[in-house]
Amino acid sequence: MSDITSQTLSEIIKNIKEKKISSQEVTKAFVDRSEKSKLLNAFITEDFSTALEKSKIFDDKPNFDLKLPGVPMAIKDLFCTNGIKTTAGSKILNNFIPTYESTVSQNIWNEGAILLGKLNCDEFAMGSSNETSFFGNVQNPINQNLVPGGSSGGSSSALAGNLTPVTIGTDTGGSIRQPASFTGTVGLKPTYGSCSRYGIVAFASSLDQAGPMSKDVRDCSLLLEVISTYDRKDSTSIDFKRNNYSSELTNNIKGKKIGIPNEYRIDGMPKEIEELWSKGIEYVKDCGAEIIDISLPHTNYALATYYIVAPAEASSNLARYDGVKYGFRSIGKNLIDMYEKTRSEGFGDEVKRRIMIGTYVLSSGYYDAYYLKAQKVRKLIKNDFDEAYKKVDAILTPSTPSSAFKIGEKTNDPVSMYLNDIFTVPVNLAGLPAISIPGGLDAKGYPLGLQIIGKAFDEQNILNIAFAMEEKINFKNKITDWWIK
């Protein structure tokens, strides 16, 4: 048996069920490795001793009927966890301990999983490199001083570094798929309304979705099956018939029509990305699928639209962090002074930037020109996809316009940072499901991701396509454990 922490979730579950390993052994393996991996800075809050206790309780009275029997798991620190500090990567929530549990994490614990700790992320999920976190940069296990992507950077780092067998992140504009792409892992953003937003610290409500991150597609399908539930506590949750994604998973995608959007061939795209995409096209052809050229004419406007809609919603969602009720409070001479000091000291630069953009685009006199127009363009972008899906079953694109970049490389150039999301944001704007899978390595040996975008509620289809491609690609991450001395 290989080292426990390098096993996939499915292997771990199988071994636990067959009593080859205990929950305690698995938990201890991940705890030990995490203890040795502080340099990655993947965790904001560790809950190792409780995890070990819980694994003992599981082993004493195991229930193998559960989908995640005694499996330890670390999750993004955007999910509120009952009794465990939840920070959203921000100073303003540095002391915040929820008395409630997010629906998505509760679903996981209900299936027998055990919390290892809370993973680092960009502050309020605003960022593409995990550099906006109050709790510091996260290292990409692929190479030293390389960003793990963001905002779910702690999640992708912990996953690729074998500190957790699978994890959950959130994706507002690419925050699951881009870090997955940067770390050679699999990440899926479900259809908007699939996973409850209840108990997840909100960034942009109309775009936020939780989703699974894993080492392979099978694990991804299993975790999606657990977290995707209808929830009355979230008014935007949708009551549709959910598949048994893992048991219905198949690599038979013969005859599927895969669309290739012309507009995703952007100016200045690195040759390596172009080549990766072409390779991806060959793989799906090999699997018996049909390639069809399509057009998504409003793609060009997606990024601008996103950077109006998301900050607008964020500026309002983050108004509650005012020092009055919970979280960080600075002393002020009066109420206004307290607000100003609390929010000036409590929020980081990127969050402030987006609050200012959002406040501006919603201001009277600017609302029509920005927010209202952005909503109209958003509709056009969605229409583009609707039109395309009359002809194809799914769409294949690169996940990101580049591989992972160096820490600090883009921190002073927000626009260049925002460009990272160019292939992922249209999907959030249209509320569609999309998965990123590793497609290969670039010349530096850094992973590159391929994105498969599906129709709404058609997660099974994109999982199947990813599953079939995964077999053909046979990707292997090159990780040297450089951070472990």
């Binding site: 997010s102 209840y198 108990g199 506590k233 979230d234 008014s235 500026s315 108004a319 919603l362 009277s364």
Partner: protein, 487 residues
């Protein structure tokens, strides 16, 4: 000031001004739980004991609409004869305040649940229609308390998230009197519907008052000022009076009126500037992405319509047609749903005319005197109808009835029992009355002589003597009839 034809006009230097008033009434929806959470809405609880994680805006908490509150708003819309919008949208109204935990109020801005409607006012000189612009649902804020702690402001979030209906009138009101009747009519309609208890002391009904003035006859609206959050009809009237005169003075002095928000100081009886238009908040309204647009079906509305009770206007019409009441009597009896219920209970088994007189007369006097709602009346409708029947069938006279009524109030006593116990039954036996008359005649030979010689006025004396001899119980009609024969 000239009140002819109930018009409210301000005269200055040969100029006659009329006052244009529009109201934004905030009515608390009667419901057990809040608009977007399951916390209780009960009034008077210990501070911060009715606050859910949603109400306190904890991270990741989401609003879920309370269907009952939606029904209540639609019900009210139907009561205002208004258009119900099948699709409405909840927006966020963004501003910072310590008692606003989310940093925004969830309200309806562009697409309210209820559109245009009408309220009919019964004014002394006839009916007047006041247009309703819209009704929308919104959350109430918490309460900031500044006077308990000398250093700090305390916040009570019990009210945070409670459902309010904001009912916006058109600028159709012209006087403090009309405002009085309008508020009372709105309250009456909502109490009939059970959608708002209208309790102004508990803050269930408050209003922002928009006031402007113009030369009478002009068709252009003047610059308006909004007087915020006035919580009694009397204060609204005082504020309008002050504000209208202030504006007229400014115009007469050749000065401009600034469009602004003002506060009414109830101690000094004046309004004063709170913030000018330039300082007005930019609320940055936008659709709340946590809530989908609210869509209701025709069936949903139809079902609510079928539950609507008879409303004051219809009831008044029925009372006039069926019971032959005067419009004045009918207006009084329908103004409050409890009064109308009481009236209809009484007349189920007794005479309408007597019931009307007794309720609007004796009973109202007592209720006024003791400052009681009719639902707390010391005399139940059942016993009042019994009393009326005792009058009607001649068991007691109207005068005795007043005595009986006095006694009834002490614990809602059955009038029949009072009459029996105190022996107040009217004497209607002609033989017994004849006997009394005979005695009176024989006791007063001088007076009889005078009467017979033409002093007709003495008839009253004999009636009085007979009544006295019967302890007031003799049937006055019979006494009259028999006396005439005997004399």
């Amino acid at each position: 000031m000239n009140k002819e034809n109930s018009e409210y006009l301000i005269l200055r230097n040969k100029n006659t001004y009329e006052v244009i008033i529009g109201l934004e009434v905030h009515a608390q929806v009667t419901s057990n739980s809040k608009l977007f959470s399951s916390s209780s809405t009960k009034f008077g609880a210990e501070p911060n004991t009715q606050v859910s994680l949603v109400d306190a805006a904890f991270p990741g908490m989401l609003p879920v609409i309370n269907e009952f509150c939606v029904k209540q708003a639609i019900k009210t819309g139907i009561g205002l004869k208004a258009h119900i919008n099948k699709r409405s949208v909840f927006d966020r109204k963004n501003y910072f305040y310590a008692d606003l935990p989310q940093g925004y109020q969830i309200s309806q801005f562009k697409y309210p649940i209820v559109g245009e409607g009408i309220v009919i006012l019964d004014m002394p000189n006839g009916q007047k229609e006041v247009g309703i612009e819209r009704l929308h649902l919104e959350q109430d804020a918490g309460k900031s308390i500044h006077d308990i702690d000398p250093q700090n402001t305390l916040v009570d979030l019990n009210r945070s998230g409670v459902a309010l209906m904001e009912i916006v009138s058109k600028p159709d009101l012209r006087s403090p009197d009309e405002v009085n009747v309008y508020i009372k009519k709105l309250r009456s309609i909502m109490r009939y519907l059970g959608t708002c208890d209208g309790n102004m002391q508990e803050g269930s009904l408050r209003a922002d008052v928009n006031v402007s003035v113009r030369i009478k006859g002009s068709d252009k609206l003047g610059t308006r000022c909004e007087i915020k959050n006035v919580n009694s009809i009397k204060f609204m009237q005082m504020a309008i009076h002050y504000e209208a005169n202030r504006q007229v003075d400014l115009i007469e002095d050749g000065k401009n009126i600034n469009q602004e928000t003002r506060l009414f100081d109830t101690k000094k009886n004046e309004t004063r500037s709170m913030r000018s238009k330039e300082d007005a908040h930019d609320y940055r309204y936008f659709p709340d992405p946590d809530l989908l647009p609210l869509e209701v079906t025709d069936d949903f509305i139809k079902k609510i319509k079928s539950d609507i009770p008879e409303l004051p206007d219809e009831k008044k019409k029925r009372f006039i047609e069926k019971f032959k009441l005067s419009p004045y009597e009918a207006t009084i009896l329908v103004s409050d749903i409890e009064t109308s219920k009481y009236f209809e209970d009484v007349i189920k088994e007794s005479d309408v005319k007597l019931a009307t007189n007794w309720i609007t007369g004796e009973l109202f006097a007592v209720l006024n005197d003791q400052n009681l709602e009719i639902s707390k009346s010391p005399v139940s409708s059942k016993n009042l109808s019994k009393l009326i029947n005792l009058i009607k069938d001649g068991t007691i006279s109207g005068k005795i009835a007043k005595t009986v009524f006095e006694i009834m109030m002490d614990g809602d006593i059955d009038p029949q029992k009072i009459v029996e116990k105190k022996g107040l039954k009217q004497e209607s036996d002609p033989k017994a009355i004849e006997a009394l008359i005979k005695k009176v005649i024989s006791d007063n030979p001088e007076k009889v002589k005078e009467y017979k010689s033409g002093k007709d006025k003495l008839f009253g004396f004999f009636v009085g003597q007979v009544m006295k001899a019967s302890d007031g119980k003799a049937n006055p009609q019979l006494v009259n009839d028999i006396l005439k024969k005997k004399l």
